[in-house]
Each structure stands twice: as C-alpha cells, then as structure tokens.
Symmetry: C2
Subunit: 283 residues, 2 copies
C-alpha cells in the first residue's frame, strides 16, 4: 500500500509494515514545491485538517498540541530567560505559536526551506499558523544548513522542528550541522530536536544520537504521545553545553504557560525524561 | 472501511475516523466462539503474530510487553507482599506471565469467559501464553461477573485485562461489578483495570471513572504508550480502599523484575501518574 490518500483513506505505513489510517475528506491543497509534495486535506473526525509532506504526516488540527507543546515548553521552561529563539523547519507555525507564549521572548527566527509550507498553513491551518505574522517573528525561507553556518552566540533556544532524515530534512541530521547549531547558542543555551519514533524508527533514532553525542556534552532524550504518528510515541533530543535536564524550572513563567496548554503541566514535564528500558538500551 | 483484514491489510478505525493499519500475512486461526470472533494472523513486520477479537486489536507478539508490563508491575510493585492475584479476561496469558515474575505470588486465578481465546493463544502465541500451564495458575473459563459475586477478602491484586466496554466485556464496566471486586480484595489490596484510550475514546474513559469513583475511595489513573492501539496511548485505573498511588515501592523485588522487562523500570514507574491536562480535565 502506498502512503497518501487512496479510496477515501490516508495511509502512512512504515517500512516495517504498520502505521496509521485516517478517513480523508476534501483535499484543500496539493502541490509539488521545489522540495516536496505539500498537501492539506480535511477529515470528518476530531483530527480536523491534516498537513502532509511527501505523503508523511506532519500535523493535524486535532492533535498538533501533543507535538508543539512538547518541543517548545520542555526546553523553554528549563531556560532562565529565553529572549532569542531559532526554529528550524516548523513552517506550519505551531512551534512559533507556543514559543511566543513565553513573555521573555523578544525575537523568534523561523528558518524554513519551503515557502509553500508556510503559505499553505497560513491559508488552511489558521489555528496552527496564527502567530506567524507576530512582529517578533522573522521568517526566512532559506536552507537552515546555510543560515546557521556563521551564527555565533546568538540564540538562547534552537528548536529543530524538521521532517524525517530523508528528502529536504536529511542534512539536518549531521554532526557538522549540530556543531553549527551549538556555536549559534548563547551561554546556557539549549537545542531541542525532534528525534523520530523510538518504536517504529529505532535505527534512525540510534544513528541520530550517535551524531548528537559527538557534538554536545549534555544530550538527553524525552518522549511523549503523538496520536497520529506511527507507533503513537515520539522522542526529542535535549542538548546543551551546560544545562542538564531538569536542573532548572522557570516557576515565574509557569502559571501563564500551563493555563494555555492541553498537555503541558509541571508533573508531566518532570516525567518526560523517564524512558522505557528498550529506549535506554538503544541510546 | 470495515475493521479486520481486507486486501492484505488489517484495519482498525475508531468511530472518529482514524486508526491503525497493519500489513497482514497468513491467517493462522479464525473462528467464531460463543462470544466473539477470535483471530490470529501473521505479519511480515516486527509485530510478529497478532491476536484480534471481533476485529479489534488485542495484542501482538512485537509490542505486547508495552501493555502487559504496565498492567502488572505498576500495581504489583506497590503492594508489600502480593500472594494471591486474580486476572479477569487476559486469556492470551501475557498478564499471567508478568504476574509470575513476582516471587511472592503463590496463586493466580485467570477468569476468562472465552476458552477459545486461551486455546488459540496457547497454540499460536507461545511467547505470550507460556506461563498458562504454571502450577500456580488456576484457569477458570467462566464469566467473571458471576465468579466475583461471592468472593470476600481473597485477593491482594485484581487485574481487569478486559476487552472494550461492548460485547462480552460490557458487564465489567459497572459499579456493581466494581463493588464485588472491591469486596474480593484483602486489606491493602489494589485493583487495576485497563481504562481505554484517553485520546481516541474519551467518552468511554469518562464514563468508566464515574463508576469507579462511586466504589473506590482511591482511584487514580496512569498511562503509557501502546504502539498498536489507535492513538498509541492507553490508560489504566489504579483503585484501592487504602493504598495511595506511589505511596510504596517494593525495592526488595525490583532488581529481579527490572532485568526481565523491556519497558518497566523505577523512573518509568514513578512517571506514569503524571497526566496531560486534557486527561486530568476529563477525569
């Protein structure tokens, strides 16, 4: 079975032979950009509208907060005063929306290689892309590999909200790239990168952490549930030169943040770095 | 799309319109019992063989430990000396296998309504059913609703490893049944019941906890990832008259247990009762 929509259902099956199926409604947008096929379709379910890139699930209106709250608030709440944030990928805007909930933030750079993703999401996924026009946001339609090369001591937080390590996202999974990200961080800075499915993509996860550990002296993993990704379980890498995971929690920002979240709270935050045995062995 | 196998793929789609798809191989067993359709099929993936009942996913060889370790070790490690255990449902034997890892256990009763499930799993899922012939196990092919009625002060732990609240499992989700389970527990006893998917079956979850809270003064929820259940996320109810969650941890048994587990460890145990906001609101 091919990934994508056929006979009224969207399928995404991992090479391993299992995956997700979603009853698809009207296709609202489907175009080939310079980088990938960008598609938005409706569903009749509480998932609402769905964004896929090259027939791989990116996000849905109905469960996007599972991903966006986790990639953002776990690192942001462990930084004392995050003013300057870089988001790599993340053209749907969900990560930007969550970053801007932190009142300390003065500047967010979105470096997304594919302008068509941004345009499609602005038009068809307004609950996700709603903060892309915020004056604190600088949008760069550019390859992050080039952008990051000469950045030194510029960001408090870098969030790699990328696609899988194939297609346009491939170069974002190398030790050269991670070294440049590390150099772009200020003292006390934290990088978080989406790091694939521990259950469905174990080999990708393993390979990625080998690269990350070459570059960052502190490299931890946290996980959470994503209902619409195959296996329903996702990992993020938490990397820093100086900040150990769970060594700091921004109590001063907590009340404002938690009341806007569907997933995130302090207990949930503290529980995220507890990993199952099979994942600890993999890393 | 119908649940079950068609054109080489097994589908399970929730009423909400999303779910799982698995490339199916040979069907090894498929029969209608007095209660339900019992089916075991092969896959070409690391999921191995799959057991379904009425075309709903029960377990797979490749991810069963995600469920069985969680339903068993979370309560068992919070009991000081579990000697007598009742498993309701659970005819595949995975829960029994995990219970017997605890050396304190002298007797386990398996009360499964459908003997065909037990026979199919003994024949086709040996890595899951492997302890069903252990001399500590009493197998009763019987309706648990009847069995539990006159039991008083008999079990340290009761585990409800049931199907969904429809079909043969329906009567296992009532306050009358829960009251009888409570009466069957010894002092310091704990009941754990599978309590559906918080994301995919929110209404079922809500309804179940209303019933449970009528009966048990202590009623908490814990969650974990199950890759092959729709939404990838599952909840269990932890209920007791006297034992608060995380108030005790059996250090004396821990080393023996953790070395046999693919998921379970102490950090993971401690993190399980931290719930996302949407689930806390639902309860």
């Amino acid at each position: 079975m091919k990934n994508g929509i056929e006979n009224g259902y969207y399928h995404e099956i991992t090479p391993n032979g299992f995956g997700i199926a979603i009853k698809a409604g009207k296709v609202l947008f489907s175009k080939q950009s310079d980088f990938q096929k960008v598609e938005v379709f409706e569903t009749e379910s509480s998932l609402g509208r769905v964004l896929t890139l090259d027939d791989l699930m990116m996000t849905t209106e109905g469960d996007e907060y599972h991903y966006h709250e986790m990639i953002v608030h776990i690192p942001m709440m462990q930084h004392k005063n995050p003013k300057s944030v870089l988001v790599i990928g993340g053209g749907d805007g969900g990560t930007i929306r969550e970053v801007l909930k932190h009142k300390t933030v003065e500047r967010v750079v979105l470096c997304e290689i594919d302008g068509m993703v941004i345009e499609a999401c602005k038009k068809y996924l307004p609950t996700i892309s709603c903060e892309l026009d915020n004056p604190k946001v600088e949008i760069l339609v550019q390859d992050a590999i080039e952008y990051i090369k000469d950045k030194k001591n510029e960001f408090d937080i870098v969030l790699i909200d990328s696609t899988d390590p194939m297609g346009p996202g491939e170069g974002l999974f190398t030790d050269e790239f991670y070294t440049n990200v590390k150099n772009s961080l200020k003292e006390g800075g934290i990088m978080v990168a989406q790091s694939e499915s521990p259950f469905a993509q174990a080999e990708s996860v393993k390979k990625m952490y080998v690269q990350l550990k070459k570059v960052f002296p502190i490299c931890a993993t946290y996980t959470s549930n994503i209902p619409t990704y195959p296996g329903g379980y996702w990992a993020w890498a938490f990397c820093s030169e100086s900040v150990k995971p769970l060594s700091y929690f921004a109590e001063d920002r907590y009340t404002d943040i938690v009341k806007t979240c569907k997933i995130y709270n302090k207990d949930y935050h503290m529980a995220r770095f507890a990993l199952p045995n099979y994942l600890k062995e993999l890393l």
